[in-house]
């Protein structure tokens, strides 16, 4: 299964629910395009829900980094929600876990943007 993306608004936070595989090709470009679209529409608070992401490769990690810096460069914040163990392990060995603001529960993550 490739990646599936669906966005919803919770207060002033845009939550992007991601499921499937974020790998080089369709998966990573879909995530990149969606994040850029949200930023171009002026969205400053983006919560990326990765709870249903089964697999992510180095290209997918690159897209997370790229999204993070793109949002920050536009004066916004992108945070991560619900990492699976494998995604968390990957972010830890690449030293990115402490770069991202990572949350386990959605309500707490939404509040953290305030």
């Amino acid at each position: 299964m490739s990646v599936k993306l669906s966005s919803r608004q919770v207060g002033d936070v845009a939550v992007l629910d991601v499921s499937g595989r974020i790998t080089l090709g369709e998966g990573s470009s879909a995530l990149r395009d969606t994040l850029r679209d949200m930023v171009s529409k002026g969205q400053k608070k983006i919560l990326l829900n990765l709870g249903e992401v089964s697999y992510i490769d180095s290209s997918g990690i690159g897209e997370l980094v790229s999204g993070f810096t793109t949002v920050a460069n536009h004066g916004g914040q992108m945070k991560l929600l619900g990492l699976t163990k494998r995604v968390k392990d990957l972010l830890q060995i690449t030293k990115l876990y402490t770069v991202f603001d990572v949350h386990d529960d959605e309500a707490g993550a939404i509040r953290s943007f305030a």
């Binding site: 490769d57 180095s58 290209s59 690159g62």
Partner: protein, 146 residues
């Protein structure tokens, strides 16, 4: 596809097109052998990921999606290990010149984590230049005795 069975070792190999579909094909080919060899689920994930990253390097950076170039994937199963070789027909690269993705100045780089992940997930990694063109990557994962 070739298949060689000699004693307890078994080798399967395939020449794949330089496309992203071949990344999936190589992963499936290797995981099929690794599964039969008895690797646990977590190791299968690591082997699959290392193969994907190596294939992406071969297809994208090595052969640059050329329709005239192939990627040769070979997987051998021995009683104590799985050995995977992935060879492209590209211009090659110098492993020493790949920037350290963990260095502070590189942490937020978009790319450059593939070789690092391969090293992290496999027990051995060797890279060698082929003549006249190409790079061959050899990955080894040992089967832990229970």
């Amino acid at each position: 596809m070739g298949k060689n069975t000699g004693g307890e070792a078994e080798t399967v190999d395939e020449f794949l097109d330089s496309t992203l579909d071949s990344v999936d094909s190589a992963e499936n080919l290797v995981l099929d052998v690794a599964q039969k060899a008895g690797f646990p689920e977590e190791d299968l994930h690591k082997i699959g990921m290392a193969v994907r990253e190596s294939m992406v390097n071969a297809v994208v950076h090595g052969n640059q999606y050329s329709a005239h170039k192939k990627v040769h994937v070979s997987v051998s199963k021995a009683p104590d290990r799985l050995t995977v070789t992935i060879a492209d027909q590209g211009k090659g690269f110098d492993l020493e010149k790949v920037p350290d993705p963990l260095a502070d100045q590189n942490i937020l780089r978009f790319s450059g984590r593939g070789m690092f992940l391969i090293r992290a997930f496999m027990d051995e990694l060797q890279v060698r230049r082929l003549s006249p063109l190409g790079t061959e990557v050899t990955l080894v994962k040992y089967l832990e005795r229970k």
